[in-house]
């Protein structure tokens, strides 16, 4: 499903060049649940952003379902993203001005779904994630755990093949964190491929593979349960 070859990313300012990722080779199969771990500044988020097509690579290649991403223009990338990828962020990134319902609905709006279909699908997901009683509230009125459930709902509303999660429990207490991880676990069991960046060993234990990054390079990879 995902394959990178010598993927390299550098950031330039006027005087300094920083290498964020160096020769990353990664293969993710459909149905995988992969955790990316490593110390702060090792390039985890950059890698996730590139995999999510919201950042470009400097050299190497990245293929998504066999398609070379570096050859796509911004519009094509947007198209690919909205049909195939869902995002969950550490700080939720919900739109404060929109209600829970509207936040969750947004990807379908951009996909051009009809209102009736959108309503059906949103109701399905809010029931699935047990947040239907909160759908008229605004993000500011929810606890962190609840906000992250909404973010997850929004991420999976369009039934993406790939779910990218950037420290999804980073801003949550352990109880709420646990809830969110269970949720991701369930999603993975029902077929969604998940790539998750995390600091937490405990979160990583939900995944099937753990990739360790250090200074922009993959230093080892474990299969959970085997190590």
């Amino acid at each position: 499903m995902i394959e990178t070859f010598n993927l390299t990313k550098t950031f330039k300012t006027e005087s300094v060049e920083t290498i964020a990722l160096r020769d990353v080779n990664l293969k993710v199969e459909k149905g995988d649940f992969m955790a990316i771990m490593g110390p702060s500044g090792c390039g985890k988020t950059t890698l996730l952003n590139i995999l999510g097509t919201i950042d470009d690579i400097t050299s190497g290649s990245y293929a998504f379902f066999g398609q070379d991403i570096s050859k796509l223009n911004e519009k094509q990338k947007t198209e690919l993203r909205k049909r195939n990828i869902g995002f969950v962020f550490q700080n939720f990134n919900l739109i404060e001005e929109l209600s829970v319902y509207e936040n969750i609905e947004l990807p379908l709006v951009y996909l051009g779904w009809k209102k009736k279909d959108r309503t059906t699908r949103v109701n399905e997901v809010v029931n699935q994630l047990n947040i239907s009683h909160r759908k008229d509230l605004f993000p500011g009125q929810l606890s962190g755990g609840q906000q992250q459930r909404v973010a997850v709902a929004r991420a999976i509303i369009a039934k993406p093949a790939l779910l990218l999660a950037d420290e999804p429990t980073g801003n949550l207490d352990s109880m709420h964190g646990e809830e969110v991880m269970m949720l991701l676990n369930d999603l993975n069991k029902s077929g969604t491929t998940i790539i998750m960046v995390t600091h937490s060993q405990r979160d990583a234990s939900y995944s099937r593979r753990v990739v360790h990054l250090f200074d922009g390079q993959i230093i080892n990879e474990n299969i959970v349960g085997l190590s």
Partner: protein, 820 residues
């Protein structure tokens, strides 16, 4: 999809009530003020364009020069209209209309119908062609026949309603002291404005035969306005030349017959009727005329106010867009295309501008009565937009709304959406970078726009200060007499009363609230006459044209004029056959004589000489507006010619004095209205245009500073949001509240100071030119600029502080956790 944009837009705006309100109010205020100014200018440029073929209608004015002084007067001799009709077939129609002083009355001012006395404020006389040239709508009677017969008058529908109610007016008679007039027509004073200002027109043939004969003969007596309507094929320049040749020849003949030699010229000018309202250079012209320059100034101010409001709008949208970088990032990650984002933001912008426009127009409609009071007009919004080119204004407003919506919506849309979502998600950086280089700084754009806004605000404040100082200077300027606590009473124009004037004055003086009484033909601020004087030895003709006042006893004592040489008038020196004069300093200088007292002055009066001499010189006497240099003025003692009675009352006893005057008036003039003015009010009215401008400037300045402050408040809100964490860190490191407030304010204070300098230069030149329109004016000094800038800096500092104070006072632990 479009519906969804608007739906979402509404929700977003509702959630951000503060921002939305600020933006809507600021924009609405700007549009409302712009609309008011537009309506004002529109109503001013409409003057006298409503007449059929108005481009063929001209007013004839007079220009003459004697001894190098050139006079321009709106009046002409009575006979011109007849001459045009007789000698110039290219003139379709010509008419004259008598000049009447607005504060003057004549025998028809008080009319009786069914034993009730009514007052008609403004009455003039004109001939049968008047309503052919000026096609007023007649609700009763026939316009063509209205002024053909003697002792008839046409009245306005308001007057008709006042006197006759709903009954028909035509054919009914109104009784005056002298005669009876039959109503020949009722006309509508059209909503479209005109420089004419009358409520009734009496047929010229009602004048007595002898007066009419003299009027028809005279080539030099300026008594009437003359209007002509030419046919389509006539070239006005040719007519001008032909007529002036004709008239010059006729005048020459008159001078030859009377054996008078004049060093000078006399000519007539042709003025398109639609230009009359903007001509303020003529004497004896309509007092409602407007200086064209004021219209330009108002136009520029209107544009600036709109600019300020628009800048504000764009500025707030820009500032807010920086807060929304993250939101844009989220939307992009979720899958929004650039097009979808652009449409989203423009939709929000359209919602704001639409609401602002609706609000602005509602405010205009609501405040219209107040505005009409301020500018002395009767405007309505709907009528202004749907008549006479107003539709272009409507279209302009709509276009403006769209342009603003697009510009205000495009910054977040076009600029921010073109960046990588990952960068956008990271960033609250004000600088936008591409390939490591700074390509665009939103901070700079905002500062530039704020600068422009403050240039306008400071300019208006400084201008207002200067105008205020000048008006104050005019009010306190030494006029050479005291203008306070003086009633000027119009006397009835009949000989019976004239004989009673001495007794009337004596009775008036009896009350203890009255400190002085006098009578006169002329009072400062009212019309003066000019007269040819033969100075010195009458055989050695030194002829001068001088301004000329007829005054009674006690005139100078009552006005507290200062005597420089000689003596005031007294009853002992009065001689019916020998004139006594007092002149002002300017006249003494003008005549350039070594010793003025005792010098003989003679006038040609009713075709005979009347000799006389100068008995006194008074300190300069400003009898007209301070726009003009004080002119030479000659006072003749003439206690028998009393168009006005002047009464000075004790300070604070206005009511007692007026009550007494009424009682005495009623005992002398049964069935006639008491017409009076206060001298200081009358003199103030000479600066009505300037005072109007001052009050409008004050309003404009308040509005602009308010709009700018709203803008600054909004910008500070965003600045604070950006810097909350920084403020927390500074507080932890020991920064005092005041110091941090100053730090936040200083960014914009620098901008305000810079704007102040640019503004000062522009204002200096504009205000200098305005002040030069006064013969007596203040000098612009640096303090006006310092005061204006300081005021603005203070307001800006307060604005920034109000917004910042809460955040700065916040415990650092709270602001440090803020994730703006």
């Amino acid at each position: 999809m479009v519906g969804n944009y608007f739906h979402t837009g509404f929700k977003v705006l509702l959630r951000q009530k503060g921002y939305t309100l600020l933006n809507i109010i600021g924009l609405a205020m700007g549009i409302a003020v712009f609309t008011f100014i537009f309506l004002f200018i529109q109503s001013e440029i409409r003057y006298d364009r409503q007449w059929t073929d108005h481009q063929n209608i001209y007013r004839i004015t007079s220009e003459y020069s004697v001894d190098e002084t050139v006079e321009n007067i709106a009046l002409t001799p009575f006979r011109l209209a007849d001459d045009f009709m007789k000698e110039f077939p290219q003139v379709e129609s010509a008419t004259n209309m008598f000049f009447t002083d607005p504060s003057d009355i004549n025998d028809v001012s008080s009319v009786t119908y069914n034993d009730v006395v009514y007052e008609i404020p403004d009455i003039t006389l004109s001939g049968p062609n008047f309503f052919k040239i000026f096609d007023y709508d007649f609700v009763e009677g026939n316009a063509d026949l209205a002024l053909t017969k003697a002792n008839t008058m046409a009245i306005s529908s308001e007057i008709a309603y006042m006197i006759f109610g709903d009954e028909p007016a035509v054919g009914k008679s109104l009784q005056t002291v002298v005669r009876e007039y039959t109503i020949s027509g009722v006309f509508e004073k059209k909503c479209n404005p005109t420089h004419h200002n009358f409520d009734a027109v009496v047929s010229v043939s009602s004048l007595e035969e002898s007066s009419l004969a003299r009027l028809k003969r005279d080539w030099y007596w300026l008594t009437c306005y003359t209007y002509i309507k030419i046919n389509d094929t006539t070239d006005i320049d040719n007519l001008d030349v032909a007529f002036n040749d004709f008239a010059t020849q006729k005048r020459k003949e008159v001078l030859q017959d009377e054996e008078i030699e004049l060093d000078g010229y006399f000519m007539n000018k042709f003025e398109p009727i639609s230009h009359v309202h903007y001509n303020t250079s003529l004497q004896y012209d309509s007092p409602t005329n407007t200086d064209r320059r004021y219209l330009y100034i108002f136009g520029i101010i209107a544009a600036f106010i709109l600019l300020t409001a628009s800048i504000n709008y764009i500025n707030l949208a820009t500032a807010r867009s920086l807060k929304r970088i993250k939101e844009i990032g989220v939307r992009k990650v979720i899958g929004a295309t650039k097009k979808q984002l652009i449409l989203q933001y423009i939709s929000e912008s359209i919602i704001i501008t639409t609401i602002a426009f609706i609000l602005a127009l509602s405010v205009v409609e609501l405040l219209m009565p107040k505005f009409n009071e301020l500018v002395g007009k009767e405007l309505t919004l709907v009528e202004s937009i749907f008549t006479g080119g107003g539709i272009y204004f409507g279209i302009l407003l709509l276009l403006l709304m769209l342009v603003l919506a697009i510009i205000g919506g495009s910054f977040p849309a076009f600029v921010l959406t073109s960046f990588k979502p990952a960068n956008v998600l990271k960033g609250s950086s004000l600088l936008i970078q591409k390939n490591g280089k700074q390509v665009f700084s939103a901070g700079f754009l905002r500062k530039f726009l704020v600068t422009v806004q403050y240039i306008v605000s400071i300019g208006l404040i400084i201008s207002t200060l200067i105008i205020y100082a000048q008006m104050d200077f005019l009010n306190s300027h030494d006029l050479g007499f005291e203008k306070d606590n003086i009633f000027v009473i119009n006397t009835p124009d009949d000989t019976t009363f004239e004989k009673q004037v001495p007794k009337f004055l004596k009775t008036l003086a009896k009350d203890k609230s009255i400190t002085g009484v006098s009578s006169a033909m002329n009072v400062p601020g009212y019309t003066e006459s000019k007269m040819l004087f033969y100075v010195g030895d009458t055989l050695n003709h030194n002829i001068q044209t001088l301004n000329y006042y007829n005054v009674g006893y006690n005139y100078f004592e009552l006005l507290k004029a200062s005597l420089l040489k000689g003596s005031f008038f007294s009853s002992e020196i009065y001689d019916e056959n020998y004139n006594h004069y007092i002149i002002n300093e300017a006249a003494a200088e003008f005549l350039a004589l070594d010793s003025v007292i005792g010098i003989s002055l003679s006038i040609s009066f009713d075709e005979s000489f009347r000799e006389g001499k100068i008995v006194g010189v008074i300190k300069n006497f400003h009898f007209s507006s301070l726009h003009n240099e004080v002119e030479p003025l000659v006072f003749l003692l003439n206690p028998n010619n009393s168009r006005y009675v002047i009464v000075k009352y004790r300070n604070g006893q206005y009511n007692e004095a007026l009550k007494h005057i009424r009682e005495v008036w009623d005992s002398f003039n049964e069935g006639s209205f008491l017409h009076y003015t206060l001298l200081d009010t009358k003199l103030e009215s000479l600066y009505k245009g300037d005072n109007n401008m001052l009050s409008l400037f004050i309003y404009f300045a308040i509005f602009v500073i308010l709009i700018s402050s709203l803008g600054l408040y909004g910008l500070t809100s965003y600045l604070i949001q950006q810097r909350t964490r920084e403020i927390g860190i500074r507080r932890v490191l020991g920064g005092s509240e005041m110091r941090i407030l100053t730090m936040l304010a200083i960014v914009y204070l620098r901008v305000v100071l810079f704007a102040g300098i640019i503004s000062s230069v522009i204002v200096y030149f504009l205000m200098n030119s305005w002040l030069n329109s006064f013969a007596y004016h203040i000098e612009i000094n640096v303090w006006y600029f310092v005061a204006g800038i300081l005021m603005t800096v203070t307001i800006a500092f307060i604005t920034v502080s109000i917004r910042s104070f809460k955040v700065v006072r916040e415990k650092p632990s709270v602001s440090l956790n803020y994730s703006g």
